[in-house]
């Protein structure tokens, strides 16, 4: 596969580093102007660009603004406001930068956060005349929440206050107090005038009282965070590839190493399935063979053993500190959605490589990030709130605390089709109950029981009701076997029903047509099964590739009635031991016979010996 290998040492690449810096602050405090000025005064603009922007302004009879160098959209220029974050590329003597010009208007907070979430460092602008405003504080808070630690504050528009040192000092005092409360310590406070070019690239004659760095010098003084190779190994499995073209028989676990390092021969564990294996090889294209891989690399591995795992699992080293695993997560969530985040609604969480359904279980506190006031009685999370919440998933999620390993300690929430919030994990929660069990308890309490008890029914039918769930990989002959079993039991005089998957799909599930709602299909299957078993029947149905947690949900929903699991083919459960394991159906009569023996032994089929 590795055609075209070339020697990387033959060319003369100078290695430089690149840093993403975001510029934030309240609306109109001069963020875009600062960047425009920075580009212009360092000769970083393409030839003719400045002249072209000036000419356009003249054509449209608008005064020239440095901000127009960044605010490229028609609407932005028309309204004199930044709408969406822009990336601009810029080089100093020291390194290359991608500078992200974020909008300050609250309406575009999601765009500001998108910019800030990409940043390694930040410059926060405060208008000297207007002083500290609502979004100066909100943006400051969000920086601290997002974990951006390299921060400088630019007190801009000093020309409007006659370059007065006291104005500057007062703002510094006020804002430093705020930042202290949220545990953020900026490296510098810089008095500047972007319009006049003071302290942006060159020192200011008008502010000889200031001896600190210019904005450009502040950027260059930010330290780049070292790659996180010294943390435990975390590798979210993005996908599992088996491309068979040209006789390729590798089964490759693909993804990007978020933290740590790994080498061939290391023992690994996949979470939440808890399956283990050993790294057999590190794969790549146009690369010479590799024995180790490190944080930051998008790579792939083959394993020593053929284990069944899913995209979305977290691969860790057995020897490392393990991540948390829980169905309940305590997190700080910033909500950006148009509709509030509410309980009782099914959302999707994307956490490292995993995507799963998630519910808001409770809201502990809600913070107004613009003044740091909190309230503890909220039932839901409104747009732009920062809330400490408990979330609940169906299956355990594998994660770290955001303060320990950022990369696997944060997530986004999807509402309908939209990313509506981002969160940082504070911890897992010990809590014995879960949504499904609570639901079933409630359901059983409210159940309107008829005059016929289970005892009466099983006496009359000579059987105890049960759900016979035939599991296993797709195409293992499950439904044929299930139908044969139904016919056999029926001929023996049993009360039995086969429920085919397509019967539910086109019946009770006809209103949903979306494979990503798998948990909802299974929930309905569980509820339907409960009706049949409540009626005293033996219900036979099939489900492909169930995992332990899905099976547990179906069993809980069918409870208090019982369930018999017959697995056909490869057993892909990691914890569940099926009641019966049939490796392959060579002879369906034999298989049916074995299942009937099991049903008799478990007293579902009651026999009278005379």
């Amino acid at each position: 596969m590795n055609d075209n290998i070339n020697d990387k040492n033959t060319n003369t690449l100078t290695t430089r580093d690149q840093m993403n810096v975001v510029v934030i602050g309240h609306v109109d405090h001069g963020k875009s102007t600062v960047i425009g000025r920075l580009l212009a005064d360092t000769d970083s603009l393409p030839e003719g660009k400045l002249a072209q922007v000036k000419a356009n302004c003249k054509k449209n009879s608008k005064p020239f603004e440095y901000a127009f160098l960044l605010d490229a959209l028609k609407d932005e220029q028309a309204q004199g406001i930044t709408i969406d974050s822009a990336r601009c590329f810029f080089k100093s003597q020291k390194r290359e930068y991608i500078i992200i010009d974020a909008p300050g208007h609250i309406e575009f907070l999601k765009n500001m956060v998108s910019g800030a979430a990409r940043a390694e460092a930040a410059l926060l602008c405060i208008d000297a005349k207007e002083g500290v405003q609502e979004n100066s504080r909100r943006h400051g808070y969000l920086l601290s929440m997002l974990g951006v630690r390299s921060v400088a504050i630019c007190v801009n528009k000093m020309d409007l206050v006659d370059y007065d040192k006291t104005v500057f000092d007062n703002i510094v005092t006020e804002y430093a107090e705020f930042l202290k409360a949220i545990n953020l310590e900026p490296k510098f406070y810089i008095p500047a005038s972007a319009r006049e070019g003071d302290n942006i690239v060159t020192n200011s004659a008008a502010m000889s009282w200031y001896t600190g760095p210019t904005v450009l010098e502040a950027f260059d003084s930010f330290e780049k965070e070292a790659p996180v190779t010294d943390k435990p190994f975390r590798f979210p499995v993005q996908d599992i590839y088996k491309f068979t073209a040209d006789g390729d028989d590798r089964r490759i676990i693909a993804g990007r190493i978020e933290t740590g390092t790994i080498k061939v021969g290391d023992e690994v564990i996949f979470l939440p399935s808890e399956k283990t294996s050993t790294i057999a090889s590190i794969e790549g294209f146009n690369l010479t063979s590799q024995q180790t891989a490190i944080a930051g690399q998008s790579t792939g591995f083959t394993l020593d053993t053929q284990i069944y795992i899913n995209p979305g699992e977290l691969m860790c080293k057995v020897a490392d500190v393990q991540p948390n695993m829980s169905t309940k997560i305590r997190a700080n969530i910033l909500w950006l959605g148009r509709h509030p985040m509410i309980k009782s609604k099914r959302y999707k969480i994307k956490l490292a490589g995993s995507r799963m359904p998630v519910w808001l279980r409770s809201v502990n506190t809600v913070l107004d990030a613009s003044d740091l006031t909190t309230s503890s009685y909220a039932e839901q999370v409104e747009r732009h709130d920062v809330a400490e919440c408990i979330l609940e998933t169906l299956k355990p999620a594998a994660f770290d605390l955001a303060t320990q390993i950022q990369q696997t300690g944060r997530f986004v929430i999807v509402d309908n089709y939209e990313i509506a919030g981002g969160g940082l994990i504070l911890g897992s929660v010990e809590d014995k109950t879960d949504r499904i069990t609570e639901h079933v308890n409630q359901r059983q309490k409210s159940w309107d029981r008829s005059k016929l008890t289970q005892g009466l029914r099983s006496g009359q039918y000579d059987q105890r009701s049960a759900l016979v769930l035939v599991t296993g990989p797709a195409d293992s002959g499950k439904s044929d076997l299930a139908k044969d079993l139904e016919a056999y039991l029926f001929n023996k005089g049993r009360y039995v029903y086969y429920l085919g998957i397509s019967n539910t799909l086109h019946g009770i599930d006809a209103d949903i047509n979306d494979a990503s709602l798998r948990d909802e299909y299974l929930r309905r299957l569980g509820e339907v099964a409960h009706l049949f078993t409540d009626a005293g029947l033996i219900l036979i149905t099939t489900a492909s590739d169930l995992d332990d947690y899905e099976l547990e949900m179906i069993k809980t929903l069918n409870s208090p009635n019982e369930c018999v699991v017959v697995n056909i083919g490869e057993n892909r459960f990691s914890k569940t031991v099926p009641d019966m394991q049939i490796d392959s159906i060579k002879n369906s009569d034999v298989a049916i016979n074995e299942i009937c023996e099991l049903l008799k032994a478990k007293k579902y089929l009651i026999e009278y010996y005379v």
Binding site: L13, L73, D84, A86, R87, F243, A254, F285
Partner: protein, 293 residues
């Protein structure tokens, strides 16, 4: 990891996310340097394979050498190669070279409309039959819902505002004022029926990064980028009526890199050879809001 390693890793990560999330995924290949780097990243992401079909919108005003190069690479690398075209506009001569359309209208006809209708499957798609060595009518007419495009944020203003995963409406329209949040490499991958996503793995690359990477990986690039004795070469490949070659004597990748780092192009924008950008000052934004790449 140096800067190119970081950019490469992010590009691969994005391609794999796209491949994981989109069943109807396609990658636009303009034959130019950026989308050829993208194609190379796909081979890296998928360990030598390219499991994503490539689509070329053929305006018929491309230099013939581009089509030759496209088909040769497609055969050599066993690519699943598809092209689409606005045959009606060409027949009706609704083009700039024929004098019946402005540059921008011509772009709209031959690129934006052709792209939109080939993506949706409304117009014929032609697919390379590797056995026969020629293009045949494609039987798959299902709309593509994920479209990978090699645009870079440093190219022009509206591209500097792009997301890695950027939604397009039912009319292929881009609502640039209301883009989804994009946090920590968790992208928007859910979409309403009828809409699709544009995926931009090269957003953080500069023109210089592209050439440095071509050099490092030894990527076979079309030779229109090199001077072959005339003192001229293309810096950006478009349709010949609207893209002029630049004066430059760079004959290989190393010389191009030198020219971009410290030479004559170190502060001249790449698209300065593209005439359609100049017709109105937000021309490209207008085109792009309508579905242009």
């Amino acid at each position: 990891m140096d800067q190119l390693d970081v950019l490469e890793s992010q590009g691969i990560y994005i391609l794999r996310e796209a491949y994981r999330e989109f069943k109807q995924l396609v990658m636009l290949w303009s034959i130019g340097k950026d989308s050829t780097v993208l194609l190379w990243l796909a081979r890296k992401a998928f360990f030598g394979h390219v499991p994503i079909p490539l689509m070329h919108i053929d305006t018929s005003y491309k230099v013939p050498a581009m089509i030759e190069y496209r088909d040769k690479l497609a055969l050599d690398w066993k690519l699943n190669m598809i092209y689409g075209q606005n045959t009606q506009a060409l027949e009706d001569k609704q083009t700039f070279p024929d004098g019946n359309a402005t540059r921008i209208q011509c772009c709209q006809n031959l690129k934006t409309k052709a792209l939109k209708n080939t993506l949706s499957g409304a117009w014929p798609r032609w697919i390379l039959d590797h056995e026969a060595g020629k293009y045949v009518r494609h039987t798959d007419t299902e709309p593509y819902t994920g479209v990978i495009v090699g645009v870079r944020a440093d190219e022009e203003g509206s591209r500097s505002k792009e997301r890695y995963f950027s939604p397009r409406g039912e009319q292929n329209d881009w609502d640039v004022g209301d883009q989804p949040p994009e946090l920590w490499n968790q992208f928007k991958t859910d979409f309403a029926p009828g809409t699709h996503l544009r995926i931009h793995p090269l957003l953080d690359w500069t023109e210089l990064n592209i050439w440095e990477y071509i050099q490092r990986e030894n990527i076979p690039i079309i030779d229109l980028y090199f001077d072959k004795g005339t003192g001229k070469r293309y810096r950006s490949l478009g349709c010949y009526p609207c893209t002029s070659p630049v004066d430059s004597t760079s004959t290989n990748v190393a010389e191009i890199i030198e020219e971009l780092r410290s030479g004559k192009f170190s502060n001249i924008a790449e698209r300065s050879g593209r005439e359609q950008d100049k017709e109105d000052c937000n021309g490209l934004e207008t085109l792009r809001r309508d579905g242009y790449m």
